[in-house]
């Protein structure tokens, strides 16, 4: 409840800086929830998930700057790029599990990163793509400032959450959990586990792409750092720190990481050092995530 109030009323009381942070949290919450579908509910640890996020962001960046496309084409194009990619990668990864899944998604994520880094005519290489128009301007609306965009992002988060909650509560979602617990049993019960894993991967990639599109508009800039291994591991930590297979947990995780990152950056440039320590501390003391920790204590 408190979370909902903060998210809804927050920007009206906050400085633009904090509104910006809250926008980041909202967008990354979509991303973290998308990974939760895969990691938490299906039990498939993807270490290349930032790839879809980044590719969708590049889609928006390239369409809206190089090709001067309108907002719908750009957003749909970004989304579609991520989706098609997930559909292709899914074919490769859906029949492997556990550590193999981990290593393959990591390697595929690195391919995407390599592409964004070296396909300079298209992606601008290390410089990235700048000059993505602001969403309001791109829509042709007269409003300015961070608050309207925040509410758009919040709306997208709300819509995505509703879809994802419906998804995990549906028979399909229950089957995914069944696969996570015992794939062999699910298969002998007659479920097509390959197809379920494949769809879970594609859907998860689709929601990550939604987040990527929003992020491109939020930042107005895309660069290879969006899809490198550090980005994927930050994302992985959001889900683990928050609590996998809860959907709410990853939202908290996203909030915690974004806040920590910005607070820390006021004191030190050693963000990765801190991130590494948070990682180790999470595994040592809160392997089920803070959301589950809180729930256990309260009853």
């Amino acid at each position: 409840m408190l979370l909902a109030v903060v998210l809804l009323a927050g920007p009206l009381l906050m400085t633009p800086y904090w509104t910006g942070l809250l926008t980041q949290i909202v967008i990354l919450a979509i991303l973290a929830m998308s990974l939760d579908l895969l990691l938490g509910y299906t039990g498939l640890p993807s270490l290349g998930h930032a790839g879809f996020f980044g590719v969708a962001a590049y889609g928006v960046g390239i369409l809206s700057t190089t090709y001067q496309a309108d907002v719908w084409t750009s957003a749909a194009g970004g989304l579609l790029t991520g989706l098609v990619l997930a559909a292709l990668f899914g074919l490769i990864v859906s029949h492997v599990r556990d550590v193999y899944f981990l290593m393959i998604t990591l390697a595929l994520g690195m391919v995407l990163w390599g592409l964004s880094y070296r396909w300079i005519p298209m992606t601008g290489g290390d410089n990235g793509i700048s000059g993505i128009p602001r969403l309001e301007a791109h829509l042709g609306l007269p409003t300015t400032g961070p608050v309207p965009f925040y509410y758009v992002a919040l709306l997208v988060l709300a819509a995505s959450s509703v879809l994802m909650v419906l998804l995990v509560r549906s028979p399909f979602g229950l089957t995914l959990r069944g696969i996570r617990e015992n794939e062999r049993r699910m298969r002998s019960l007659g479920f097509n586990t390959w197809l379920h894993c494949y769809l879970s991967y594609v859907l998860s990639g689709a929601f990550a792409s939604v987040a990527g599109v929003m992020w491109a508009y939020y930042n107005g800039f895309v660069s290879p750092t969006y899809l490198d291994l550090t980005a994927s591991s930050e994302l992985f930590l959001m889900v683990t720190l928050g609590g996998p297979a809860t959907l709410v947990g990853p939202v908290l995780g996203a909030g915690a990481i974004v806040l920590l990152k910005n607070v820390m950056s006021a004191y030190t440039a050693r963000w990765l050092l801190v991130l590494g320590l948070v990682y180790i501390a999470t595994i040592m003391w809160a392997p089920q995530g803070i959301w589950n920790l809180g729930r256990r204590q309260s009853g």
Partner: protein, 284 residues
């Protein structure tokens, strides 16, 4: 013809480095089921330590020795105090190593700064061999020889000594191995340390050519993963064959179609996954 011989030798050189790094990764995986995200960091730390010690003392040999011992000790401590608590929880272990990888990455940047460097080539190995018009640097031949030597040594250790027998028993069934009196946790620490040292050796051997730079850890890691995926996780033979395949393909790929260099590297991995997900010599 001459071109192909030189390219093949270059491919062998890449394969030698890849084998050194990937063999450590596959060893640790075989015994502990650990997917070590910090494996590339071991290579990076190895070359950084070697660089510092060499600059302080002027002795390259001492630098290499200190680097190997230091990284092995680091690996041992990591296993002993952090990873061991999460035995048989592969995901928790992986994330732990990821935390370490990020930590090492930033710590290295803090200690050594971001400037790239190369180790000096040992004087005895400077220059090139010229055999019938085929010119090839001595140092690269030396690295190929070292990797071959390490391959033979590891193989002999693994299949002809008591320690090797214990390692193989632990790979097959850790619980039964423990029941027969093998100190599995000490053995695991030892294997993890050895794996770290191999990674460091790979980093140091590449030192005069690839050198050390910020971000090399995450550059090397996917390469080692591709080798291990192709060869099969936990298999030393797989690491050797995988390194040869990847080294050759990468080298010819770069020479013939430089624009696609990243794809030529990952294409064999994707192909292998489609045909045989456990890799050439891996077990399910």
């Amino acid at each position: 013809m001459r071109y192909f011989i030189v390219q093949t030798l270059n491919g062998l050189f890449s394969a030698a480095l890849l084998f050194l790094i990937a063999s450590g990764l596959t060893l640790a995986f075989g015994v502990m089921r650990i997917v070590n995200i910090a494996h590339g960091s071991f290579s990076m730390l190895g070359v950084y330590v070697a660089y510092t010690v060499t600059r302080q003392t002027g002795s390259l040999l001492l630098g290499v020795a200190v680097a190997l011992v230091a990284v092995a000790a680091l690996g041992f401590l990591m296993q002993r105090f952090f990873l061991r608590r999460f035995a048989s929880q592969p995901l928790a272990q992986m994330m732990m190593t990821m935390g370490f990888a990020l930590f090492f990455r930033d710590a290295a940047l803090m200690i050594w700064g971001g400037d790239p460097f190369t180790l000096t080539t040992p004087a005895a190995l400077a220059g090139s061999v010229d055999a019938g018009g085929i010119v090839f640097p001595w140092y690269r031949l030396f690295v190929i020889a070292v990797a071959a030597l390490v391959a033979v040594a590891v193989w002999a250790l693994n299949s002809h000594t008591l320690i090797g027998a214990r390692v193989r028993a632990t790979v097959d069934d850790p619980e039964m191995a423990a029941a027969t009196g093998i100190n599995v946790s000490l053995l695991s620490g030892g294997v993890f340390a050895a794996g770290a040292a191999l990674a460091a050796l790979g980093g140091v051997m590449g030192g005069p050519i690839i050198g050390g730079y910020a971000g090399m850890d995450f550059d090397l890691l996917p390469l080692a993963f591709v080798v291990v995926i192709i060869g099969g996780m936990g298999s030393l033979k797989g690491a050797l064959v995988g390194a040869l395949v990847v080294g050759m393909i990468d080298n010819y790929g770069k020479a013939l179609v430089p624009e696609l260099s990243y794809f030529t590297l990952f294409a064999p991995m994707v192909l292998m996954l489609a045909l045989k997900p456990t890799g050439l010599y891996g077990r399910a």
